[in-house]
Symmetry: C2
Subunit: 571 residues, 2 copies
Amino acid sequence: MFTPPLDEQRFVLEHVTRLAELGATDRFAAATPDLVDAVIEGVGSFAEGEWAPLARVSDQVGAKWTPEGVVMPEGFAAAYKAYVEAGWGTISAPEAFGGQGLPYALASVVLETLGTANMAFTLCPLLSVGAIEALVHHGSPEQQALYLPKLVSGEWTGTMNLTEPQAGSDVGALRAKATPRGDGTWSISGTKIFISFGDHDLADNIVHLVLARTPDGPAGTKGISLFLVPKYRVNPDGSLGAENDVRTVSIEHKMGLHGSPTCVLSFGDHGECVGELIGPEFGGMRAMFTMMNNARLNVGLQGVQAAEAATQKAVAYARERIQSARAGSGSPAPVAIIEHPDVRRMLLRMKALTQAARALLYYAAGMVDRATLGDKAAQARLELLTPLAKAYGTDLGCEVANLGIQVHGGMGYIEETGAAQVFRDVRITAIYEGTNGIQAADLVGRKLGLEGGETLARLIADMRAEAEDAGLRSLIDACEEVAGHLRAAAVDDRLAASYPFLTMLSTAVAGWLMERQGRIAANGDGAFLAMKRTAARFYVEQVVPEAMGLMVAAMAPADILYAVGPDEFAA
Amino acid sequence: MFTPPLDEQRFVLEHVTRLAELGATDRFAAATPDLVDAVIEGVGSFAEGEWAPLARVSDQVGAKWTPEGVVMPEGFAAAYKAYVEAGWGTISAPEAFGGQGLPYALASVVLETLGTANMAFTLCPLLSVGAIEALVHHGSPEQQALYLPKLVSGEWTGTMNLTEPQAGSDVGALRAKATPRGDGTWSISGTKIFISFGDHDLADNIVHLVLARTPDGPAGTKGISLFLVPKYRVNPDGSLGAENDVRTVSIEHKMGLHGSPTCVLSFGDHGECVGELIGPEFGGMRAMFTMMNNARLNVGLQGVQAAEAATQKAVAYARERIQSARAGSGSPAPVAIIEHPDVRRMLLRMKALTQAARALLYYAAGMVDRATLGDKAAQARLELLTPLAKAYGTDLGCEVANLGIQVHGGMGYIEETGAAQVFRDVRITAIYEGTNGIQAADLVGRKLGLEGGETLARLIADMRAEAEDAGLRSLIDACEEVAGHLRAAAVDDRLAASYPFLTMLSTAVAGWLMERQGRIAANGDGAFLAMKRTAARFYVEQVVPEAMGLMVAAMAPADILYAVGPDEFAA
């Protein structure tokens, strides 16, 4: 059960992303209103017809490891082929490589719709996006010509290979090796873990982007380079050669996202793993951040996907499930549970948080496109917003999925309803592509000080110029005060307060964008606008004040955290 | 991996439950400090040795339905036998029926320890407690003599049969029937769902307590009576007779708690299901509340169990996992992640919330014993605190389990660590025995007005007399203000605000009890007291202000919830 939220997607693209501004530029002139509509309606139908029906089997059967490679559940290969044929992966990719050159914001909507229908499956194209970005920005013309068209079309898929058992958040601790083979290629060796779609049977080839160390490089992150390692070697004419020396050792037994194989990959067991350097030697971290920044937005978008999926299921259940008379109504007739105040409160909260997450993500996506157009301020704002979009987007996804179970009552705990699947699936999003704690550290460590603090100051000024609600204005003021305090604070204090501050600032930004939407929807007719202004009002009136409750924690020094040591924690 | 938190249990029993006051009475004179110590240490060793080792198999293998009945995983039967032989189920049961007549508060500690080691397993004795309470308060002397000794010892187990497909929160909608057989017994028919441990192979007999309707009774809850339906009929001499006409149709496929079979039971398929009336005809609801009130406390206690389990796992992992240098330390050496501020913040929050939940539950348990001693004010306070203990206790359990996954990072999403199991297991506790929304409705519907509001007023006065922190005092004031507002509010407004208010009041009570503990621990030596005062300080300084952020929602009228209708939610 899945219905693409077309009215909502159009409305947010119009009033939050302000897509028309992008369509008015030469670069994005193709993004006419008609075309945009055709895309979001088309992917909606596609997702409903092809991907949503596989959501259950994705969870209940899942990807299976075999000695010959990972086998996806029945139906996945055909649905993926249909995805490639429809060109859903090509929206924002460069036209030179078979893409449509449309705004990234529009590609986000496509990804959102696919992921709401089937989150695990959509991780496959999501990872390809990272590989495409890395090659677009750091690949040689030859590499681009050889790999990008197939990645853009989706005939081949991409992966990101960062993590090793001892190197998770600490990328600099990785040990995978690359040694020159003397012919310009490199011999790759090492083990990578947590590689999503590291193997599968959906595409003809898999392009692994692998971080590894070259001989005699410096320790830590400075000695890391990025390599392209195809599952099957690629001949200069683009045809496939022999299988490369990459082995899928196992896949993880995870709490959710069973349709996304999380692989342990072993490179170069036989000394025959051939890779190509992407970008300059020791340029691995820079290339990684190119991959990860968009991946972080796309993971934030998974929060929106889960929230939308959970909300649709909960609303449908609450409208059907008849239970108890409405208290105080005078009638003994049992009613649908959506009529009960506390259930209604949960559903309205789910609606409001889903819309808030979407607004934040679509707004950030618009900044990607403005940055592409050369807008430096938009680039800076994007960098500031990326940790918010990733962490708050996924936190909201988790919260909404949790409420979705609660609305279902006992049936929410039974796997048959699918509410539990959303809850299990979304949980990883707060962890991968940089845990939400890492995002908070990025916010207070790097982003607060962007342009000497001007990036944040401009955002605050924009919010303040538009925000009307007194509570929202108080929160904006509080964010400014906390930010000023944190910029002057010691490292420990800054990090100790980072998470509460991230939530405060995210809520302020989302509140600003929600209030704007509520204002625009204030006098319109129809069910969608009525829901929009109600959700906006709920967010501003009831969610924003909760964030004010975090201010004490956001101003508190770290000393309390270190008043005791590790032994006391175990006492 | 499980270590019983003995120091903490002793401390909270001493300073929150104030167990010595109970031990000073004739009724509980047996509860000497030495005996209390022996019990909590004994059950700690037992749980560590017998039940904790089965926690993984409980989840990964789980209970299995077969045509011959439910089969528990290997090892459960032997561990249950050891539990019966050790007498861990007998602590607070009446001595007349083989119990030890010790305080309920001490029995709570026993249940907590068992459940921290293995939550799914512990649901079996937890359900027996409900059956025992119902029989103690509503059974005839003959019924008590026949059933209670075996239930108390644990040789037989008990179940609660309330829910039917159309009758969940709305118990009054149930349809199961009881018709007189002419010999004083009743013929039971109907289908019950969500029956925890409705069948298993651990004990010789299962005593089902079943709500059903007798002929010509009034509709709704007033026509409901409680029946005792044994799996095997019981002869007057206590020996077992023929199998009764109760069939286990299936067990549910749940997100967690796989070691607890959730059964669909069909009664009287062949017209041969014999039951006995417990208490008077139409007295079913009263008897049900007897079962459920303690069950609600015991479910709240499951929140403590999950929180403790999650915290122990997270602390152990965070001490072992080495990742990244400490920011700002000047040293490039990677450290255990417990040293990083945001990880430390999560761990301290886990500690503080776990202790807060435990304090609330142990405090309520002490009120059960004071009520047993005839203290009417304690009885009223218990009734007021029960929805808080159930809902807030389980909400904290869910939150701490969620943080536990986050501390583990990617490993938290992998089932091998066990962090995900705690998260999946605890989620049902916010739903069963009355959803947390039902608890909030109970709070604002029945409990605020107890004794004309005096019950709450006395609690507020007690908190105010002791609370020192300005933030905590503000929260207590706010609770009083909201409560006054809600008592005068329309039904819809009261229910719309019920959940935020429940969280505020629970936080105030827990804050009061945590601050007290911190004060007592202020000048002591040793790791436990250092942790205690730090956790108490964190709760009061950083968690209490968050609850103030809910005040706007707790004062908001319901109109926003009904500004749109069900169709708009689906738009």
